[in-house]
Symmetry: C2
């Protein structure tokens, strides 16, 4: 843990924590964060402060922060907005170095009082040295220590992803996607900001990919400096809201942030190697790809498709996402001709199904041969496979071929779109798990998404090649 990261340490890795103003209610509808902590079996010390209760969930409840028997690493403050500044003062007096303010109605409120209260909190922090996360946040989550301050229950999965966001929604699960790992919800970001969070993840060995959800920020310059440095060590992905005029206005309300012109953000992200996404849906695609795939050495793609239509859709998608269709070497062309029916033109992308049907070999063998020929070509940086999922029942199966190729060609990303699962019990989801866990490959739900993601990755690795970090350190 570097010096830079230590600022965030009491927030994300506290050994002791107090929940101030925790509800006496428990069970469904109470949204009691303590119930979650008990269920996670968090190993640190937990104190509760609620002057109206003596005991909550079998734990002693203290009347005030000053009554606590010891100074703790972190205070999680759930009180109403008007008494919050006083609580923060008390925490600072107790020597607590870090406080998360969960409550809403500060800079995010429409009235003057909210902004005034936030200013007061900032003032206390500057004066006393206590650091503040929030207000208007669900706080932090850390699957590696079974700790979270959020009222939402989450599965503690140690995925190597660190999130920094301005909304608790990103601590949630998006359909089949587990996002974190580690999570930091900055909320209104009155003190702890994006740059601080990035520095915490910068040298964190548990985090391989960083995801940002940005509404806005007052100090863009420091953020961009830090981001440029961190992006040279690990990929940073960003969802930035506020493209249009109306959402910029709305953000002012949501987290009271400075938003800035969208074009400036685009340019800034590009300059510091941050990958900007268009849609929440993209997060899974890009994150999983950074985790599973080796770096792209260039943007020349080859494709092998069971479907001629897939070939054409792939060509369109590559053009849209700035990937080049690899020009195959004459040797590769010759080898492909040898496994193809006479009437079929060979080339890249390769329509491989006619060869599979025409060959005397088992169809899985012909498929494997075609894929191998493409991967052997030094002009090919990455391979995209479009296949029927029903090939899973053949020998070698689809997943066997893909896994074997990821082993044989560890430098070349291999990704897949599979369709059709009627004939077999294996679903595409099973197939995805197999190739993503046993191989170093990724399954996508469409051609467009596979190619779009490869385009994002190619851009990032190009940034890395052009950046100051020596090549040897590039490989993960």
């Amino acid at each position: 843990m570097t010096g830079r990261a230590s600022k965030l340490r009491p927030f994300i890795e506290p050994e002791s924590v107090v929940f101030v103003g925790i509800t006496r209610e428990t069970g469904l509808g109470s949204f009691n964060a303590i119930e979650n902590l008990l269920r996670y079996k968090y190993g640190g010390k937990v104190y509760l402060v609620n002057p109206k209760a003596e005991e909550i969930l079998g734990m002693k409840s203290y009347p005030s922060v000053s009554a606590l028997p010891e100074k703790v690493d972190l205070a999680v403050v759930l009180t109403s907005r008007t008494i919050t500044p006083g609580i923060i003062r008390e925490c600072a007096a107790k020597g607590i170095p870090a406080a998360i303010i969960m409550g809403q109605g500060f800079a995010d409120a429409t009235d003057a009082l909210g902004k005034q209260l936030q200013e007061e909190i900032i003032h206390i922090a500057r004066e006393s040295g206590i650091r503040i996360m929030g207000p208007n946040t669900v706080g932090v989550a850390n699957a590696f220590t079974d700790f979270s301050t959020s009222f939402m229950w989450m599965k503690m999965e140690e995925v190597p992803v660190g999130i920094v966001c301005q909304s608790g929604v990103f601590f949630g699960r998006f359909h089949d996607l587990t996002l974190l790992g580690k999570g930091i919800d900055l909320g209104n970001a009155c003190d702890i900001d994006f740059a601080d969070a990035l520095e915490y993840y910068e040298d964190d060995p548990q985090v391989k990919v960083i995801v940002l959800h940005i509404e806005g920020m007052p100090n863009g310059r420091r953020f961009l400096e830090v981001a440029r440095r961190v992006a040279q060590k690990k990929p940073i992905i960003a969802l930035k809201a506020g493209r249009g005029e109306r959402s910029r206005k709305a953000i002012q309300t949501h987290t009271g942030s400075m938003v800035g012109r969208d074009e400036s953000w685009d340019a800034a992200f590009k300059q510091c190697g941050i990958i900007r996404l268009d849609d929440v849906d993209e997060i899974r695609d890009v994150v999983q790809s950074f985790i599973c795939l080796p770096p792209l050495k260039g943007n020349r793609v080859a494709a092998a498709s069971f479907s001629g239509a897939g070939v054409n859709i792939t060509l369109d998608a590559c053009e849209r996402h700035n990937l080049r269709i690899a020009s195959l070497s004459p040797e590769t062309e010759k080898k492909l001709e040898d496994i193809s029916p006479l009437w079929l033109g060979t080339g890249n992308p390769m329509d491989i199904w006619p060869s599979m049907v025409a060959s005397e070999q088992p169809i899985g063998e012909t498929f494997a041969s075609g894929v191998r020929i493409l991967l052997e070509d030094p002009n090919v940086d990455a391979l995209f496979i479009i296949a029927g999922a029903w090939m899973e029942q053949f020998n070698p199966s689809l997943s066997q071929v893909i896994i074997k190729m990821t082993e044989g060609f560890p430098d070349k990303p291999i990704v897949c779109w599979a369709y059709e699962t009627w004939t077999i019990d294996t679903t595409v989801k099973d197939l995805a798990e197999k190739i993503e866990k046993e191989g170093r490959s990724v399954m996508f739900s469409s051609v467009e998404r596979a190619i779009r993601t490869l385009g994002r990755l190619a851009k990032y690795w190009d940034f890395r090649r052009r950046s100051a970090i020596p090549l040897g350190e590039m490989e993960r």
Copy 2:
């Protein structure tokens, strides 16, 4: 069945069919279409022709088409390309009105012979009157009569979707998506073409939405005439390959089609009310929405979101997809203020979570109230809900509220994005099934996709309003 549709009838609703050149092999890897037909329990008569076999799968095999005991509705021809013209001649002589040519290596081949053979087949068709589908096709599928000529096994689900494509891949299943319904793979489209297929679906009561996958076509004018007429009766959705130069060249190879400039296609689609999609992934979103949702009466959207971040992402997406954020009436604003905490600004989109937590009422009741207030506003044409899936465990639950609102406001499309499923057994997929089957709502996997789809629908219903069809017939 109109006169226009009758041309396609023997292809899609045959009462008797012969498979010419059917393989003697059965079981895994044989791709024997007859095995599928037996499994579907297709009710029509099936004949086989294979001079090398006497019996296949317990069915008599005839030595030739002329040896068949009767004239059938449809011949499915699986012979190699060089003998195919002779077989077609024999079918015509037998009085068979329709033939599907499955084989490849015709206009889709790189050699001159392939093109020559296809020309010969066209000549035979013109001379004899036999109609041809293909070559280079998997043929047809009809879940309503348990009939398919494809070697791929499919689940016969009677979804009200008719597909016309130039690749068998669209008969497949894309992850959880069952596309057809009815399917017509035109392949090289040497005779039966897109206009013919559209006319078959035009007045088909089993088909409510038409999906096209177009690589290219020689007779664009007739297609556009027919499409404009059909789009005034039911939505037509199109995936058109060949945006870029390379894919246009590749399509020439795949189905030997004329492609045309992409911009001309864009303009033509717009003019005849066809909805062009960007991605295979979109098909499910748009098709399901046309099936489940009432027509949009305008493009003014309201949103209720558990997450402030969701509000902002929604605003961005609406701007991108040409939807307007509805301006609420003063009465609506007043009603929203009544259920919101004092510090919270009200408006559209509505950040509803603070109200749900602050209220004395059960959270489900507050949620229902907010949603109802938005729907009651005459300035609102459609409602988008962003919710935690864990609200399913409350009373009223998320799905209960949505289903009730679709009943109470049958004229207003209601769509949803739900996140987070850790706390409950119900998955978002279960939730989607509930609101899509029991209600008239649709679940999306992201904000972007929900709003993009509403944008597509708004454009279509606008086309319908501006078209010649009287309003009364608009409602489905």
